[in-house]
Symmetry: C2
Subunit: 216 residues, 2 copies
DNA sequence: AATATTAATGACCGAAAGGTCAGTAATGTA
DNA sequence: TACATTACTGACCTTTCGGTCATTAATATT
C-alpha cells in the first residue's frame, strides 16, 4: 500500500538517468571541498543530489572513482580557460596582464570551481597522481600564458627584465589567497573585498610600493 | 619467558612519561599535515612516535583532543613570532618590511610548523573554532605588525598612500603560496626556489614591474 | 632481592561508513 | 490496460578504526 497521507516529505521517485551524474558530481564537489575526501560521507553526497546512496553506485564504481571524476570534470573548464587565446591583443602588456587575471578571477576564481584548488591542496598527498594531472593540465598551461604576457612586456621594453617564473608566482599568489579565504577562512573577521584586493595587487605589481621615482 | 631470540625488531619497552606527549604531538602534526585529520590513523601516529595506540590515550582523551592539542601547541611559537618587537628600528620602512618577512620565512615558513597553515586551511570547515583561534592569535597579530610597518612607511613619505589591509594580503600571499607548494605540490615540476621567489617579490613589491618612471 | 607503583601494551568491542543486492516502481510500448 | 524494461532504493553485509581494559613489565623504594 502507499504510505498513509505521504508524510509531507514523500518526494515521488523520478528516473533521470542522464541528469544524475552531473548532479552527483556537483554535490560531491561541494562536500569534498567543504569537508575533505575522507570526512565526506557518500550518504550525504547522495542526499545532496536527492538520491539514495545505492544510486550513486550506478554511476560511479567507488568513492575514489567519484573523487577522481569530480577532479577530472572540474578541470575541464579550467583547462579551457587556460587555453583561451591571447590572440592579437593590441593594448599594453600591463593591460593584457590585468585583463587576463581579472577574467580568470571572474570566470574561475569566483565560481564553485575554484574550490578544486583547496581540494587538491588538501588531498595532494593522498592522491599524488591527481596533483600531477592538475599540475600538467592547469598549472603548466596557465603559467605558460602568463609567461607569454610577461615576455611580451619585457620584449617591448614595457616591463623590466626579471625572473619570469618567480614573477608568475608573485602575480598569481593573491588570487590563490583569495580562494583560500573564500573556502576556508570566510567566517573570520571582516573578510576581504576581492575587488579591492585585485586592484591593490595590480597597482603594487605595476607601480610598486615606494614613492621615489625610478631611473629607466 | 622472554621472546625467543627477540626477533630482530624487539625494541625493549621504555617508560618515558614526560617525553611522550611532545613526541606524540610531533608525530601527529606530521601525519595530520600530510594526510589530513580524518585520513590519519591513530595507530600510525602512535607507531610514528614509537608507541602503541593505547599509550596515546594515556596522554590525550580522543582524536579530536589530540588534534586540538597539535594546533594549540603549534600556535604558541607562531604567536611568539607575531609578538616579536619591531622596537626602535632605525632603517627605512622598506628594509624593515623585508627584514620582517625574511625572518618570518626563516623562522616559521621554512619549519615544520608552517604545515599548520595547510592543516587549518584543509580542516577549516570541520573545526571552525580552531580557525577562529588561529585567526585571532596569529593572523590578526601578524597583520597588526605589518600594518604598523606600512603605516610608518606612509607616514614618513617612503610609501605611497594605499589601502593597508589589501596591501597586507598582497604582501603575505607569496609566503603562503610557498607553504602550499612545500606541503602539497612539492612533487610536481621543477619546484620553486624560495630565495629567488622572495627576492623577486620584494623587488616587485617595492619597485613594481614597469620600467616607466613615476611622478612622486 | 623483594615489593609496590604505574607506564605501556595486546586484544578486544562497537559504531560508522563503504559497498552490495533483491526487490520496487517509474516510464515506454502495444 | 497489460506488460517489459530498468532506474532506483531499503536493508543488509563487511571492514575499518576510534576507543577500552585487563595484563605486563620497567622503574622506584625498601
Amino acid at each position: 500500500m502507499t504510505p498513509a497521507v505521504s508524510c509531507a516529505s514523500a518526494a515521488p521517485r523520478r528516473r533521470r538517468k542522464d541528469a544524475r551524474p552531473s548532479e552527483l558530481l556537483a554535490a560531491a564537489l561541494e562536500l569534498f571541498v567543504e569537508k575533505g575526501f575522507a570526512a565526506t560521507r557518500l550518504t550525504d553526497v547522495a542526499a545532496h543530489a536527492g538520491v539514495a546512496k545505492a544510486t550513486l553506485y550506478l554511476y560511479f564504481d567507488s568513492k575514489e572513482a567519484l573523487f577522481r571524476a569530480v577532479v577530472a570534470q572540474g578541470i575541464v573548464p579550467l583547462f579551457a580557460a587556460a587555453q583561451s587565446e591571447l590572440g592579437d591583443y593590441s593594448g599594453s602588456a600591463s593591460d593584457l596582464l590585468v585583463e587576463l587575471l581579472t577574467r580568470w578571477q571572474r570566470e574561475v576564481g569566483a565560481t564553485p570551481l575554484a574550490g578544486l584548488y583547496k581540494l587538491i591542496i588538501a588531498e595532494a598527498n593522498n592522491f599524488p597522481e591527481l596533483v600531477q594531472y592538475y599540475h600538467d593540465e592547469v598549472i603548466v598551461r596557465g603559467r605558460a600564458m602568463l609567461a607569454d604576457v610577461l615576455r611580451r612586456g619585457m620584449a617591448s621594453g614595457e616591463f623590466r627584465e626579471i625572473d619570469v617564473d618567480a614573477t608568475i608566482d608573485v602575480v598569481i599568489a593573491p588570487l590563490l589567497s583569495l580562494i583560500v579565504w573564500r573556502f576556508s577562512l570566510h567566517r573570520c573577521g571582516a573578510g576581504v573585498d576581492p575587488g579591492l584586493l585585485l586592484q591593490t595587487h595590480f597597482d603594487l605589481l605595476l607601480h610598486g610600493l615606494c614613492v621615489q621615482r625610478r631611473t629607466p
